[in-house]
Amino acid sequence: MSISRRKFMQAGAAAVTGAAIAPGIHLVELAQARSPEEAASTAKRWGLLIDSEKCTAGCSFCVDACHTEHNITSNNRPETDAQWIRKVTAKDPDTGYTHYLPVMCQHCEKPPCVDVCPTGASFKRADGIVLVDKHICIGCRYCMMACPYKARSFIHEEITNQKSYVPRGKGTVESCTLCVHKIDRGDNNTACAEACTEFGNDAILFGDLSDLKTEIAKRRKTEPSRQLRSDLNLNTGVRYQGL
């Protein structure tokens, strides 16, 4: 049986359309899970949405979970201890109204830390995560001065007992990695967001900002949220509500 070229193309197009709209089949979702051999791509932009109205005084589950996950320990010298998340207290001087918010690396689209880095150690990954390549970091700390969020820490002392997935060492600068090791293995969550949901007040939501089907993108579209220091036009990956 012979089939004309036109009919063949029509049948093919119908089959493709059918697969895309058939119930239960989502071709896009199938493509979302990144295989271990696949590089991070610009198809994703990871970020956080933090509701400061839900964040309460005295709760530090996010900070503790971050410290446990990355084995960040204190030398009892708060001035120089590494700090990937800080719990910030914001108080209205007129009314006295106080609220709390965790502040970490905001994973800017245009990160000032990357702009100033003299060696290229400070860089932004394709999926929007801002990291430090400690192999080439010389510890000059320009990035710490450039960051408007005080997100970075310099490691002043020898570190031992690092986790295999979080290399950390003296003489380099570090900050929140948005739990990049968890993202790469497909956990699709950060330690802070997991702890906040499970034990805290469900104030931190992690997700892909570029995929409009994710909860974070939906909430960002329908609810008000803002960047810290939005005047700097950095297009941060971390956004806040209730400020």
Binding site: R34, P36, E37, E38, A39, A40, G58, C59, S60, F61, D64, A65, T68, F123, R125, A126, D127, L131, D133, K134, H135, E158, I159, N161, Q162, K163, S164, Y165, P167, R168, G169, K170, T172, V180, H181, I183, D184, R185, A195, E198, F199
Partner: protein, 135 residues
Amino acid sequence: MITRFLILFVLLFGFAATGVADADKSDDIRTPLPVIKITKPGKCVDDTDEMRRNHMDKILHQRDITMYDGIRTKQYSLSNCVDCHADEKTNSVLGKEGFCESCHTYTAVTIDCFSCHSDKREVKTSDNIKGKPEQ
């Protein structure tokens, strides 16, 4: 004629036997050698000769694709090397008889990896079991 052959045979065999005996006396060798303990033998990444000469290039290549592209395949990953090569007693690749340090000390090559990376085999402990942390 036969006597000459016999003498030759005895001499050859004798020398060979002495040679074997010398090789067996490795404890008596005055030249220090690195300690290479392989607890899990077998080819994982490449042949031993290739790995001895070029392991640093393989790790360097993997380092960049992991750092920049987030590709964390196991074959060339440093933590996978450590998981297999860590000493059974110390659980580490460092130390006097550690797989990495022993050779690097012998060849006088400074090893920088472990000032940041973990030199210990990843032990699955109760850390991974979730429970509400104390505050």
